[in-house]
């Protein structure tokens, strides 16, 4: 190709979806001169599906991104139309925030941040080719023949890889929302020996708000208590917009049933594997035939648009069937469809081909992040983008890679699952994937990760000082409570009784009183002579650390055990064929995954405890061999 030299960058990010923007910002913030290339500058961090961010597990990820100096939390805090804290009636480990986003404002806000980031250049353009020489990625070439060289390249092309949109019997090559598909890149990755798999997902129709009869639906307002994702946010949006709830019924189901054969997903046109947790409405009817109704949430897509997202009716039925179907739903009888629902099929990289830094094992300097790695969801994409950006910068700047483990963050769980186990459907984070979820709470993401964010230069001195303050206050208050004795006075018994607890027999210290499940921090504080003026977030930490100390301790012991195995590193040049006695299935899997630690090895499917023991012995043997070699 006749190319022109368009310059050199430390890091190039291909794509500006949720993964791409975090990758670009992180690399730039760490000091790497960074270029982002994307198809359409008006669609930066676009939400092709539901206009919402957060939820269980995912909401925790957003806060983790924030604690590591990423952007998602801050931007959603400026652009939400509604914020809710979920699982409030459950324990602190599973609480999470979810925001309904103004998806258009979100784009603008994110674009502004990127445009104003020093060290970061953003440019519209389609990358057609990666420059790869001798297994090392050296840069990219766009379709307009601009050749950029770089030390590291991060590909975050999401659902655009050789993607195909399907509605009824209509099928055409296209990215989401009629954007262009990225086919050359997909073909080239395959030529480079990267194994790909075909996945699918889908989205429901959007309808005009004026055509909805809300009186037939239930209102779903946001919380009145102001809350935000970012630990840095101090201003809250109080003007919130509600969502609405309605249901499908037997008539809806009959229409779907009668027309199943015309759905792209059921006519055999779609070959990719879809996610179980985001089934199309066709799937729901087929798999759960006996359910009389399904929930349908109506979610506004922004403040300055009448488009409403119809959550629950993701479909690839023909447009006329979509219309018939929707008219059976209370409140939507006269709904005007503005955009039809569709399914999309795309290529993604089998993620066990990645190191935990998200660099491809087969091509040095080439990272992939986001939906291209087989995940689904904005938060999952953003988290990977952030980590790929951090690690691409590490590589360029000659710094240590940053790998979070399963006890440090949901981000660690996500990436470890991907690179160790792979996935056979689009991967979504769930709280049940985290074995230490009691530690991975949304209220303590800052306590878990700010130190790391600071160390790698993603957290400002100011912010770090505030964080240190918070930590200090928490510890001091816990110590203080331990030293205060509360006598069994009438006033005390009264408070306890009102909370539904059993009366005190003897005096206790305030700490032990707070341990009781029914005693809130507020109540205990009201019994103290001196009430410290502490931020709410500090009081919350004091309460959680006190009340759940036993459980937290148990988790920490588990983590300590896990860490021991995690700390046993496997040399990168290990030759699995040389290991005597390892079972052949385990050998094959280990050769493929090439785990970095014995802990990671033990999570590879097909590797059993005996293989792990043998591996340990082999590694130790290597150490001894080195020592005795030195002596010789």
């Amino acid at each position: 190709m006749n190319t022109f030299d368009a310059g050199h960058y430390d890091v190039i990010v291909v794509g500006a979806g949720h993964a791409g923007v975090e990758a670009g910002l992180a690399a730039a913030r760490r000091g790497a001169k960074t270029l982002m290339l994307t198809l359409n500058l008006d669609m930066i961090a676009f939400m092709p599906c539901n206009p919402s961010i957060g939820g269980p597990a995912k909401g925790v990820v957003v806060r983790e991104i924030d604690a590591l100096g990423g952007e998602m939390a801050k931007v959603i805090d400026k652009t939400y139309i509604q914020m809710r804290l979920l699982n409030t009636r459950k324990g602190p480990a599973v609480r999470a925030l979810r925001a309904q986003a103004d998806k258009h404002l979100y784009i603008q806000e994110m674009k502004k941040v990127i445009e104003n980031e020093p060290n970061l250049t953003i440019r519209q353009g389609m990358v057609k080719e990666l420059m790869v020489e001798d297994g090392v990625c050296k840069g990219v070439v766009t379709e307009t023949k601009a050749a950029y060289t770089a030390d590291s390249v991060i590909v975050t092309t999401g659902t655009f890889m050789r993607s195909k949109v399907l509605i009824g019997d209509l099928a055409y090559e296209s990215g989401p929302n009629n954007q262009r598909a990225s086919t050359d890149l997909s073909v080239q990755l395959e030529e480079l020996g990267i194994k790909m798999v075909r996945f699918k997902t889908g989205t429901p129709m959007r309808v005009n708000s004026h055509s909805i009869d809300y009186s037939k639906t239930e209102i779903q307002p946001g919380d009145e208590v102001p809350r935000a994702f970012s630990y840095e946010t101090t201003e809250y949006i109080m003007d919130q917009i509600p969502c609405w709830l309605t249901y499908t019924n037997e008539f809806t189901h009959k229409i779907i049933d009668d027309n199943l054969s015309s759905s792209a997903m059921y006519s055999g046109m779609v070959k990719g594997t879809g996610p179980r947790y985001c089934p199309s409405v066709e799937d729901k009817i087929v798999r759960f035939h006996d359910k009389p109704r399904h929930q349908v949430f109506l979610e506004p897509e922004g403040r300055n648009t009448e488009e409403v997202y119809v959550q629950g009716l993701s479909t690839s039925l023909p447009e006329n069937v979509q219309k018939q179907m929707i008219e059976t739903v209370p409140g939507l009888e006269k709904a005007e469809i503005m955009r039809a629902g569709y399914a999309i099929e795309y290529d993604s990289v089998i993620p066990t081909q990645l190191w935990p830094t998200l660099e491809l094992k087969a091509v040095e300097g080439l990272f992939t992040a986001g939906q291209i790695n087989g995940t689904s969801g904005y938060e999952e994409a953003a988290a990977q983008g952030l980590m790929a950006g951090i690690n691409a910068a590490s590589k360029v700047l000659g710094k240590e890679p940053v790998i979070l483990d399963r006890s440090q963050a949901y981000i660690g769980v996500l990436i470890d699952d991907l690179v160790t186990k792979g996935t056979d459907e689009p991967y979504r984070l769930l709280t049940s994937r985290a074995e230490y979820r009691l530690i991975l709470r949304h209220d303590n993401a800052d306590l878990r990760l700010t130190d790391i964010g600071y160390e790698i230069g993603m957290i400002s001195e100011d912010r770090y000082a505030r964080f240190q303050d918070k930590k200090r206050m928490i510890n001091e208050e816990i110590e203080r409570l331990k030293g205060i004795t509360i006598k069994a006075t009438d006033q005390v018994q009264e408070v306890i009784q009102q909370a539904g607890g059993s009366p005190l027999k003897d005096a206790v210290n305030a700490y032990d009183l707070l341990k009781r499940p029914e005693m809130k921090f507020e109540m205990v504080a009201s019994l103290l002579e001196e009430r410290k003026d502490l931020p709410e977030a500090v009081e919350e930490q004091v309460e959680i650390h006190t009340k759940y100390a036993g459980y937290i301790q148990k988790s920490e012991q588990q983590i300590e055990r896990m860490r021991k195995m995690e700390n046993k590193k496997i040399p990168e040049d290990i030759d699995y064929d040389d290991i005597h006695g390892i079972a052949s299935e385990a050998r094959d899997r280990l050769k493929e995954v090439r785990p970095l630690s014995v802990g990671q090895a033990s999570r590879v499917s097909g590797v059993n405890p005996a293989d792990v023991s043998i591996l340990l012995v082999y590694i130790e043997q290597g150490k001894i061999a080195k020592v005795s070699g030195d002596e010789a």
Binding site: K90, F297, T431, Y551, A610, S613
Partner: protein
């Protein structure tokens, strides 16, 4: 290296008059000391041996008289602190001692783990590394095969059932957490969860009780030799005992002063029932009558029914066959050195599916075939052993005990009003522990359950 303390029986089971339970790790000495009545082991010199009694710290009951040797790191096999508890070689004693160490916080050693530790701590040199790997492989494979073979079908079925019950509870909790707006599932409350887990807890307790009584687990395979007078029962008994170095153990705590014989036949521990009676050449059926003998026979896991080759099958023989109907029986036609009077066709008809072995005890013929027959019947799992099987199940019992404890933690949490997602941590752990018993702990199955049980999504 690993910082936990491991424990295992380090002598071949049931094969010596003395057995050794070995502990290795940082807690080895203090752990042993906690159950030892005698000198303070924490204070004694290294590489010394001490006489005393083992007490169960929970009940303060005496378990065994023992000799305990204390060897402190680094001059030990594993380069960790090692304690060896020398006890009676009987299966009962040695298992009880092992179980006690486990209940005190030791972990049952993995196959080859002492050697592995020795290696990792630099005690064994490089040239032996391959041998260590072979050992781990071989021991693990064998242990796994044996464990699988010995896992009673019903037991594994039951555990799977308990796991499934827990899994459904867990999935319901998870769905409430991951899909808080999903309205189709009943909210899993502490009350509901208590109901569900209580049932599982009862089942686990029941299993543990049967494990406690589990004759085979603790006492070997109860074996009764029956037959008319003079067919050769005592001779058979002696033959088995002589061939296999019988261990005579006094069973403590029993009122009748019975002496039972243990023999180890090709790895199958046999406990010969009512051997005293047989020794005196008195006939079991004659002595106590058919009704009582039926009862005694009920206690047995295996019947060796002896007939005389030099005699025809009598009415009495047939009664015996009836008495042992439905049990695991090996029919022995003894005295093949005498001219054959027995009608083999008739015998095959009476004997039905039971294997028939011919012996001449006086000429020491056929004993090999008999032993093969015993070990076949055992390892094919044909023996009716109640709910639990034998020895390697110490691991199962330990896991089951842990499962019970974590479930109790969960129940305590529920009663204390802890949030469901906290309590759930302990329930999940229980589920995992049960999974370890049947060799299956894949996290993915919870997620599968979630999506197959509930209709979730956008």
């Amino acid at each position: 290296m690993d910082t936990d303390t491991i424990s295992a029986i380090s002598t071949p089971v049931g094969e010596g008059a003395i057995a050794i339970v070995r502990l290795s790790g940082p807690e080895a000495v203090s752990l042993a000391n906690g159950m030892f009545q005698g000198k303070d082991l924490n204070q004694v010199d290294t590489h010394t041996i001490h006489y005393g009694k083992l007490l169960d710290p929970k009940t303060n009951e005496m378990v065994e008289e023992v000799m305990v040797s204390v060897m402190r790191a680094p001059k030990t096999f594993t380069r960790e602190d090692i304690v060896e508890i020398n006890c009676h070689g009987g299966l009962v004693s040695v298992n009880r001692v092992l179980e006690l160490t486990l209940s005190q916080g030791a972990r049952l050693a993995e196959p080859g783990e002492f050697t592995k530790r020795a290696f990792l701590n630099g005690r064994i040199d490089l040239s032996q590394a391959e041998a260590v790997m072979d050992l781990i492989r071989a021991k693990t494979d064998r242990a796994m095969n044996v464990a699988l073979k010995q896992m009673d079908g019903r037991l594994s079925h039951l555990i799977q059932k308990l796991r499934q019950e827990l899994l459904e509870v867990l999935a319901q909790v998870e769905v409430n957490i991951d899909y808080p707006e999903y309205d189709d599932v009943e909210e899993m409350t502490n009350e509901l969860m208590i109901q569900n887990t209580r049932q599982v807890h009862q089942e686990i307790e029941r299993l543990l009780r049967t494990a406690k009584q589990g004759k085979i687990l603790r006492e070997g395979l109860g074996t009764a030799i029956v037959g008319r007078p003079n067919v050769g029962k005592s001779s058979l008994m002696n033959a088995l005992v002589h061939e296999n170095k019988a261990i005579v153990t006094e069973i403590p705590g029993t009122t009748r002063d019975v002496i039972e014989e243990y023999v180890n036949v090709r790895g199958v521990p046999l406990r010969l029932i009512d051997t005293a009676g047989i020794r005196e050449t008195e006939d079991l059926v004659e002595k106590i009558g058919v009704e009582r003998s039926r009862q005694v026979l009920q206690e047995a896991d295996l019947i060796l029914l002896v007939l005389n080759n030099g005699d025809t099958i009598t009415q009495e023989d047939k009664k015996l066959f009836e008495a042992v109907e439905g049990m695991d029986v090996i029919v022995i036609v003894n005295k093949t050195d005498l001219p054959q009077q027995i009608d083999m066709d008739e015998l095959r008809e009476v004997a039905g599916d039971h294997p028939i072995v011919s012996t001449s005890l006086i000429e020491e013929q056929g004993i090999d075939q008999l032993e093969t027959s015993i070990s076949d019947i055992f390892f094919e799992g044909d023996i009716d052993t109640g709910d639990m099987t034998y020895l390697s199940n110490v691991r199962h019992v330990q896991l089951l005990n842990q499962a019970k404890e974590t479930l109790e933690d969960a129940m305590d949490g529920m009663n204390a009003g802890m949030p469901i997602d906290m309590v759930q941590i302990d329930v999940t752990r229980t589920w995992e522990l049960l999974g370890e018993i049947v060799g299956d702990t894949v996290q993915e199955s919870l997620i599968d359950q979630l999506f197959s049980q509930f209709c979730l999504g956008k």
